[in-house]
Symmetry: C2
DNA sequence: TGTACATCAGTGAACGCGCGTTCACTGATGTAC
DNA sequence: TGTACATCAGTGAACGCGCGTTCACTGATGTAC
């Protein structure tokens, strides 16, 4: 049976599931992932605790699905940004917009790991999609940069030794044909943008006086040029 | 009365306090800050729950003191590294060693914020100490760099506009006489090193294939040269 | 169109758990005369 | 050196809470003949 016509019961079912997840996101936004409570969600929905077990196997299954949705949303955002021609700056600012839209969702993906939690395989597959989009953009950026001017500050320590290491350790790229320099640039984008965003979202910049957006833009400028 | 001679009772008291905190750190290391339980600590110490209230006003007070200790430890590490002449690379690798020694301690300082928690003033003062040590090192690094060669890739977008912004928004430096370029470099050190370390400690690099230490070293190389 | 049955959403009571915290109390350790 | 008292560490019982989860059950909604 195809997914075209859904029975009324199926429609209702997925509608309630969606509402449960919506309330769950509200709770996570206000109290973090550890503060998520099935009973509290049920109360907000006007139904009583055990009813939720009609829709989710339990708390862990609900959290896993929220995490999967977060990864999916980020992967879609990255794919769209990579394909829209905005280059690395476009991707970076799309990431920042995505992060600011829901900080706790960002932390669910890249934040402090939940003690005993281990992500299922399909989520790590989505993580690879995210990396693939980033690599696409980095390959294009390298093509632009290597033309006119040199590779910037990289020559302060001779030929790039980490690039050589990456040439032999590229399993994480999942078969992506990016050259080592692009792999390196992708890793730098990841760590640097995450560094800025996680501090900004955690509120570590508040009260410091400068404008986080300008710091972010400056970092993106450097990433887009020679790295 | 001076702190020289402590009565036997005082000695015992601070000894038990230390042991409580030691067990607390063990719990945090294995289950994160949210998993810290007074009763569990008491059980591990062979005493029963309410006894801990002789030593700490409650759970929040204990956590606050652990956070303070974490900041204090990092500030001391930074001060020592800044004064030891290792420059920016020395400071960066000292930070990485400190972080790897106890990942959860690092996350207590820079990780996902605890929902309703707000740090008391003396802790933000220690945070300023940390910044001051970083600024000291960045000022020295700028002096070294600006001599021989140019400021690297920064000229890809003309005169640095963010430096100009920083010249007018330097409250966070707390009166430190660092020039804008050093302020900028300090912020980049902070965000970039944190970006790498938080991903590494959270386990996001595991299974990717490359050596995190080499990526870190490459990033430090770039930070130590023109930024 | 109407009847018989299956499906399934939701309820309410209950279980067991661990949590932070309070309170009145016991006993040992220190101090003052 | 010995006695009287204060200090304080630690106990055990209890309170109230919210959690995830199970179970038997009710009632409505859909399906098959």
């Amino acid at each position: 049976m195809t997914a075209g016509a859904a029975s009324p019961r199926e429609r209702y079912r997925s509608q309630v599931r969606a509402e449960i997840k919506a309330r769950a996101w509200e709770q996570i936004a206000s109290a973090g992932a550890t503060g998520l409570s099935l009973n509290a969600i049920a109360k907000e929905l006007g139904m009583s605790g055990p009813a939720l077990y009609r829709y989710f196997g339990g708390r862990d299954e609900l959290i896993t699905e929220l995490i999967r949705d977060a990864y999916r949303s980020l992967a879609d955002t990255f794919r769209a940004a990579a394909d829209s021609g905005g280059g690395l700056p476009g991707l970076a600012h799309a990431l920042r917009r995505w992060a600011l839209a829901d900080p706790q969702r960002y932390f669910l993906v890249y934040g402090t790991p939940v003690p005993g939690y281990h992500a299922p395989d399909d989520i790590t597959a989505i993580a690879q999609e995210i990396m693939a989009a980033l690599l696409d953009v980095c390959v294009a950026a390298d093509a632009d940069t290597h033309g006119p001017d040199t590779h910037g500050a990289a020559d302060t320590h001779g030929p790039d030794t980490f690039d050589a290491h990456l040439a032999d350790h590229r399993q994480w790229a999942g078969g992506h044909p990016a050259p080592p320099a692009a792999l390196h640039r992708a890793l730098l984008c990841w760590t640097r943008l995450h560094g800025h965003l996680s501090l900004e979202l955690a509120g570590h910049f508040t009260g410091m006086g400068f404008d986080p957006e300008l710091l972010f833009a400056a970092e993106v400028d450097e990433l887009a040029g020679g790295h």
